[in-house]
Symmetry: C2
Subunit: 390 residues, 2 copies
């Protein structure tokens, strides 16, 4: 066993995305104690930055000390009590996971199933909400397994109109497209650090509304989870009333998140969204010029997650293997019913640059040509260049 030296990689899968040198440098700063006054000041800055980036000025915002799935678990386990009815929209792997965790929390789960690749359908969700007294609606804003974007505001409004709370999975959306907890009227939103925030995986930014906190306070029994008990977590992240010991915060990971949030605020949240969109348009133009099709209809596409159909006769794993071996470039495979049928190309955070778009088009068209697909590298790059305008 020796010190681990990671190979050079360019990360254009569904996450993690490339982490910038400034965030990597932040991770390596000396560890201080989690009760240190300087660390408490850092926590306050992180909470404020999260509220700004999530547009959640009235929510309590904290990063949970575990990967994005922790946000999903915390949201469902804190809000659901056994016997509660939960409407869960399922249009991909992560909606599926929400339904699974809601069932584990003891809820009666009303699934609203969709074909993978479609956005969540407000009409069917509305009908499901009205079919019984419902505690909450849960859905995924940006389905990482398909690249479909759902319209969060109207869905949250439907829940609110039925007296239900709303949980919105923003793991892949935050930093890449508009997230607006306040504007949507979302009760809980959560994200991950390894997507468009471009920090390493390991933390889950989490925002909870006053109504959701009241629902948690009104539980008959505490949630089964102690580590993700929002009452205890909020006490630890404190505020005017001071802090109450709970777990030990992951200090260095929080240094990284702080630096990643700072980078996003320096760029500007809206500017980051515009950059993601521009890179997506260039990539999509290049893919189409190469004769490739995207899974999701244009109006519903996530800029940061591009699901590309594998052409007939092409071995998708062999193509990815060649891209990794020859270009050090990682893209993602399909999950569940899309396994073997799509590639997932991420343009997230520090991986959403013209350089990444061009490298990906070069590597993918090379991998296709190696499988006797017509060589399309020049056409793909020219189409991307036209969109990039540089």
């Amino acid at each position: 066993m020796r010190s681990f030296e990671p190979p050079r990689r360019i990360l254009m899968g569904p996450g993690p995305s490339d982490v910038s040198p400034r965030v990597l440098a932040a991770l390596a700063r000396p560890t201080i104690g989690h009760l240190d006054p300087a660390f408490q000041a850092l926590m306050e800055e992180i909470k404020s930055a999260l509220a700004e980036v999530m547009k959640a000025p009235g929510h309590a915002c904290v990063p949970l000390p575990a990967p994005g799935s922790a946000g999903m678990e915390a949201a469902l386990q804190n809000l659901l009590e056994p016997g509660d009815r939960a409407v869960v929209a399922v249009n991909g792997q992560f909606g599926e996971r929400m339904a699974e965790i809601a069932a584990r929390a003891g809820a009666e789960v009303a699934r609203v199933d969709h074909d993978w690749g479609l956005p969540v359908d407000p009409e069917r969700v509305g009908a499901a909400l009205k079919a019984g007294k419902t505690k909450l609606l849960a859905f995924v804003h940006a389905e990482t397994s398909t690249g479909a974007r759902s319209d969060a505001g109207p869905l949250c409004a439907l829940a609110h109109d039925c007296g239900a709370l709303s949980i919105v999975d923003c793991v892949t959306s935050l930093g890449g497209i508009e997230v607006d907890a306040e504007g949507w009227g979302a009760d809980v939103i959560y994200s991950g650090t390894q997507k468009c925030l471009s920090a390493p995986p390991g933390l889950s930014p989490f925002a909870v509304s006053a109504a959701a906190r009241a629902a948690i306070d009104a539980r008959a029994a505490p949630p089964r989870t102690w580590l993700f008990d929002m009452g205890l977590l909020m006490g630890y992240w404190g505020g005017a009333g001071g802090r109450t010991y709970h777990h030990t915060a992951p200090i260095n990971a929080l240094y990284g998140l702080h630096e990643a949030l700072l980078a996003l605020l320096e760029e500007g949240v809206a500017a980051s969204h515009a950059r993601h969109l521009r890179m997506h348009e260039a990539l999509a133009a290049g893919l189409e010029a190469a004769g490739l099709e995207l899974l999701v209809a244009p109006a519903d596409r996530l800029p940061q997650l591009n699901a590309v159909k594998v052409p007939d006769g092409v071995d998708e794993a062999a193509a990815r293997g060649r891209m990794l071996a020859r270009y050090n470039l990682e893209i993602g495979a399909g999950l569940g019913p899309l396994r073997g049928r799509i590639w997932r190309i991420g343009l997230m955070g520090a991986s959403a640059t013209p350089w990444h778009v061009r490298l990906c088009l070069t590597a993918l068209t090379d991998a296709l040509a190696a499988q006797n697909y017509p060589d399309a590298s020049r056409a793909a790059l020219a189409a991307a260049d036209a969109k990039l305008g540089d």
Copy 2:
């Protein structure tokens, strides 16, 4: 908001401990994907190193993607089903937390309460185990809140003799004193990274026996927790049968754990224990020369966590504040019934060196002298020097 530059700190509290430059450097290596072949090789090395350090060759060993409390939560939530009887030894804050989490898991909790500062009493635990059909015994090997060490082997044997499983909290023990999952016959042990392993907080090394895995497989219903479902976690960490997607591993934190485990194996686990003991003996000699008393009886003391009684008339918070302000040195306060009555001085991992012992004695005697306690710095250092022999 600006980039965070942590103040210079020397960490001699109950954790986190000082993180060595080599581990900090590992954290900052470029992030790669969690499905990358190179990352899978890293995971295999981490599993092997954990099995060696935990002396758990027959256990399945994985690091959970969250701080040490995650290990406690995972152990209890996976092994306990509603209605199960659990005997929990409570001799400090972390035994208290075990009882709380066991109750949340729906168990009937039989507490065996002890005065804080005492080790767990095998006789009373044995009686509690025999008082009813019991699913498991849970106790803390190294109580971080008091500095008391319990004798894990005989306690696990008592559980085994009653047909019960055993869970041993090794958060503060691993790397500092002998941990021997196989020799003890422990079914689940877990630790944290920020104590004697001297990595940043954020991960929980976890080992589970074949008997415990069989008990988990035999559950009537899956555990409420999805993120810490051991079946899913073990599938993700894989082995011969490959890996099944679950969460996204905290890549860079695992780089740090890998480097910390490598450092421990290079030093030698037994050599690390001997170093911790030697530093403790020097610190204890210095403290006694300064007229200070330790909370725990000599036979039960943890080398890595020294609970020092605050002398009458001394303001404990003011003393800690002065040590932090003048020496950048962090030590810990007491918790629960020991609040205001003790200081907790950690000698963990990279913080267990002669330099740390001398700095701590210097800073503490200075802080005491500032409160009109007789100046004892020369006597304390001389007593420590005599033990250090250099």
